[in-house]
């Protein structure tokens, strides 16, 4: 249950959790800038989807709360900070916006003015607006810090619009001091917006699947999705192409659909029907010997033209002899941008209909089948051109009607289109040529000859005959024969036409499929190239990464090496310094000894000095060796430094450090060199002194000998 109102306790803390249940969840964010307030709202909304919150109200409250708080806010720690808390439980949502108020806060005045809906100050207007959009408003104000928190409550039930005027609570304002006096009421869970998986949450589910692959804009993506859905509807689940391929093949597909509209009689079934009908006519020609009276075309003709008897007896709208019904056609073709052309075609068809009616009228007037045949392209209806007779019997009338109707239906079926076919002029010419050839064959064939012969003979019979009935019968019979001949010619024409159309259709289809195939191959090829490029890039990156790793390892190793070497240097330096000091001391002592000690003592100590000299020599050699080592190390360091400089252009800091270290090392080595040279100088001095001492020693020895001799002689004396 939600925590009850604050009437039973003193509020002296900020936070929305105080008005929510113990198991509530609070999302919060500190905003130093109000940019992306919309995204912040979106992110909050992703967490509120499962609740019954009124999204619009919530968005208004958050956006208004944040943006207006900016203008009312005073700078804290030099920065403009607005904190938003959005807490919710099972019953309600609490949106709290906290900021530092730069204006004066007068609790009573705010309560009065907002209560009367007559806000005067900026903060009053702010609170009033929040009150308008929420089911309750609570204001916290800390006098010491001038910090204000405006909490808007949204009741999940109230937001459903059942009880619009229902309020959780009226405006409540709490003004408190600095220190909290009661334990704080908190929420079970506090989540900062940055802790959410905002990337995935803000990314729509569909976007997740596609935009990464294709890098589409939202608009493009929406368009793509809509189109894909349509295509799925068209093809079902067996949609053979992907979106991209479809887009690329759009033009081709359009053409295909256009062909479906413009080309008729292409299906094998229709071809079969055509053959069957031709056969039927032959039968009629053969079997029908009865003269029937011709009937004028009725107003139902148009209906007949538009309707096709189905196999199950129902009359289904056939449209314009295309694969799809009119509505289906429009619906299915719309996504491909052919809606307009379809409408255009429809108007053309209507024009053709009108023309048909007009021609029918003419036909009725002239009752000349040939006129009709000439006027209707590719032969729409061939009417029997035999004048009606009043004395025709009922049976013949009915059979005539039936016949005409059947002819109409068949003509409708056989008629390729009401619209202009999309065949090229050359194709048309070829068809015309073929048809005329066939007609000529019929004319020049046995049937034609028989007809001509029959006509001549019938003229003779008519002349010989005196009975009108016989004459009429002959006329009718001959008329029938000629009309049937013309029908056969017409049908042959249509047959040719349909064959050509079929050929043309197959060719275009073949072309389009080839084109599709080519384009798909191109796409695959492009994809392969992209894939290869990506692979290459990945490979390069891996190589670079490996190189970088090895370099860093080397550098790390190099650093350690340099450090160690530096320590070595310093150690050696200190040791050499110590040695120097010792040597200096020894030199001094030697000098003292030489100058002060009596000859006897010197004689005794001469051995020690020799030893010391030997030691010094060995030290000198050691120092020389060290010097050489230093030089070598310096060389190595220099080489490494140059290498690392070459390799690492970016790591300037490291190289500078290395340089510094190297400089230090160089300074140290120079010092050591100087010291060594000094030592060498000292050594040479010592050697000189040694020589001098030796000379002195010799002289002393000579003197000693002399003294011995003189002593001996004196003693002897």
């Amino acid at each position: 249950m939600a925590k009850n109102s604050t009437s039973d306790q003193k509020i002296n803390k900020f936070g929305v959790a105080q008005y929510l249940s113990d198991f509530s969840k609070v999302l919060y964010n500190n905003l130093f800038v109000n940019l992306y307030a919309g995204q912040t709202t979106d992110l909050l909304m992703t967490q509120l989807k499962k609740t019954k919150v009124n999204e619009l109200k919530m968005r208004v409250l958050v956006l208004f709360g944040l943006l207006e708080a900016r203008s009312l806010n005073d700078r804290v720690e030099g920065e403009s900070l607005v904190t938003i808390e959005c807490g919710f439980d099972d019953e309600k949502l609490a949106i709290g916006v906290t900021f530092n108020l730069k204006d004066i806060f007068n609790k009573k005045q705010i309560e009065l003015n907002v209560g009367q809906k007559n806000p005067k100050t900026e903060i009053e207007r702010y609170i009033n607006a929040i009150t308008e959009y929420s089911d309750g408003v609570i204001v916290h104000y800390q006098e010491s810090t001038k910090r204000i928190e405006v909490i808007a409550l949204l009741d999940f039930d109230a937001t459903e619009g059942i009880t619009e005027n229902k309020k959780i609570k009226d405006l409540e304002i709490f003004v408190f001091g600095k220190k909290a006096e009661v334990p704080e009421r908190t929420s079970e869970k506090y989540i900062e917006l940055g802790d959410l998986n905002y990337k995935d949450l803000l990314k729509k589910e569909m976007d997740k699947n596609v935009s990464e692959e294709l890098d589409l804009s939202y608009g493009e993506f929406i368009a793509k999705n809509a189109q894909e859905n349509y295509i799925k509807k068209l093809y079902g689940s067996k949609d053979p192409f992907s979106y991209d391929e479809k887009v690329k093949l759009k033009d081709v597909t359009n053409r295909l659909y256009d062909e479906k509209i413009n080309v008729s009689g292409g299906s094998p079934e229709e071809e079969d029907t055509l053959e069957k009908k031709v056969g039927d006519y032959r039968e009629v020609l053969q079997s029908e010997t009865q003269i029937v009276k011709g009937t004028p075309a009725s107003g139902d003709d148009e209906q007949i033209l538009r309707e096709k008897p189905s196999t199950d007896g129902e009359t289904k709208p056939e449209g314009y002899n295309v694969k799809f019904s009119e509505d289906e056609k429009e619906e299915k073709l719309m996504p491909y941008g052919v809606g307009e052309s379809l409408k255009g075609k429809r108007s053309k068809l209507n024009e053709n209909d009108n023309e048909t009616i007009k021609i029918k009228g003419e036909y009725e007037d002239t009752q000349q089948a040939t006129t009709v045949k000439d006027k209707l392209n590719y032969g729409l209806i061939e009417k029997k051109s035999i004048s009606s007779s009043e004395d025709t019997d009922e049976a013949s009338k009915k059979s005539e009607e039936k016949k005409v109707e059947a002819q109409k239906v068949e003509a409708q079926k056989l008629s390729p289109i009401e619209d202009e076919p999309t065949l090229s002029q050359s194709s048309k010419d070829n068809i015309e040529k073929d048809s005329s050839q066939l007609a000529n064959t019929i004319d020049s064939g046995a049937f034609g000859k028989i007809l001509i012969k029959g006509k001549e003979e019938s003229e003779e019979v008519k002349r010989e005959s005196k009975e009108d009935k016989t004459k009429k019968w002959i006329d009718r019979f001959m008329g029938d024969l000629f009309s049937e001949k013309s029908k056969i010619q017409l049908l042959s024409k249509q047959l040719n036409l349909s064959i050509k159309q079929k050929e043309f259709k197959f060719k275009t289809k073949e072309k389009s499929y080839q084109e599709e195939l080519r384009k798909r191959k191109e796409i695959i090829h492009k994809k392969d190239i992209i894939l290869n490029n990506v692979k290459e890039q990945v490979h390069n990156l891996q190589v670079k990464l490996a190189k970088a790793k090895s370099e860093t390892k080397k550098n790390v190793g190099g650093d350690i090496l340099i450090k160690n070497q530096l320590t070595k240097y310093e150690k050696l330096l200190s040791v050499s310094q110590d040695d120097n000091e010792k040597l200096g001391k020894q030199v001094l002592e030697l000098k003292k000894q030489l100058s002060n000690q009596p000859a006897k003592v010197m004689q005794v100590e001469n051995k020690d000095t020799l030893l010391e000299l030997n030691n010094m020599k060995s030290d000198h050699d050691r120092l020389k060796r060290h010097l050489e080592e230093f030089k070598k190390i310096n060389k190595q360091l220099m080489e490494k430094l140059t290498q690392s400089n070459k390799k690492q252009g970016t790591s300037i800091t490291k190289t500078t450090e290395m340089k510094n270290r190297l400089e230090q090392a160089m300074v140290l080595s120079m010092n050591s060199k100087k010291e060594v040279t000094n030592l060498q100088g000292k050594l040479t001095d010592k050697v000189k002194e040694e020589i001098k001492l030796k000379n002195q020693l010799k002289l002393l020895l000579v003197e000693v000998k002399k003294l011995k001799k003189s002593g001996g002689s004196s003693s002897a004396a």
Binding site: K13, F14, G15, A17, Y28, N29, N30, L31, F32, V33, L35, Y36, Q39, T40, L43, D74, V76, E77, G78, E79, L81, T83, N100, Q142, T145, K146, R147, P183, E184, T186, S187, K189, Y190, I191, E192, L193, G194, D195, L196, Y198, K563, L566, T567, E570, K571, S574, Q577, D578, N660, R661, Q664, V667
Partner: protein, 268 residues
Amino acid sequence: MDFYYKKLPLELFNELRPFPVSKVKPYQLLLAPVYVFLHKNSKFLALKGPLDFFTEQEMEKYSTYEVMYFHRSIELCTPFVIASKSVKDILSLESVDMIPSYELSDSVLRLIGPLWSSENKIEPYFINIFVDELCAPLGNKKMEEASLLDVDLFECALLQSSWAVFLALHLGYCNLNFLNKLRLNTFDSVMGFESYNGKNEEVEDLISIARSTLKSIETKVLYGNYFDKKNERVCKKMSSKINRIQNEVCVTGLKSATIFGKEGAFSG
């Protein structure tokens, strides 16, 4: 802070890291004890301890040494310095205002999170290093004055102010100016230079938590699970953050860096 070795013999040269004197700047908090080599005694002598600094006069005096030696415990500070510089780079971006606040706080948390060990603890000394690198200097006079007043209090003020800033960063207060002022205000209030006149109740709570959890320089370690036990709003928020760090950001199996014991230079 007390550290082990005031003097080091030449043999322990490997324990030290040489550094040119020219690189050591006055009034910069030292990351480790600093030594110089005495040729006469053949020994390294400690000049300054950690959390201390050189004045300008001192730098002039010691400039003759050319090389100064930091204790190797300075190497422990590297991840904290790197993280700090990275955070500073982000918050100093000219286009920082163009980054949504939640993305900014997320990126900062991803940088500071790994500073917590997998044992959910961190040493205040390192926090100070992190914050000192991140924030603007406290000021020469202020530092000199504070250190002369009371060294322990100065160190305590450093640690507490750094801890407050570190906590604020966790809670998404990702603004460099704000953090600088927070550090300065906390330092002043701890030193008693100025009483804190906060304008944000949550930041006040953070400061009080920083002061209560890090009462003196004797506090060696700060534990993340401290916040789990508390019921305050700030603690709940911190607890949620620490949980995320432990679950997502923190490097598993990473031992906490310590300046105490054998590894560090400080006497426990």
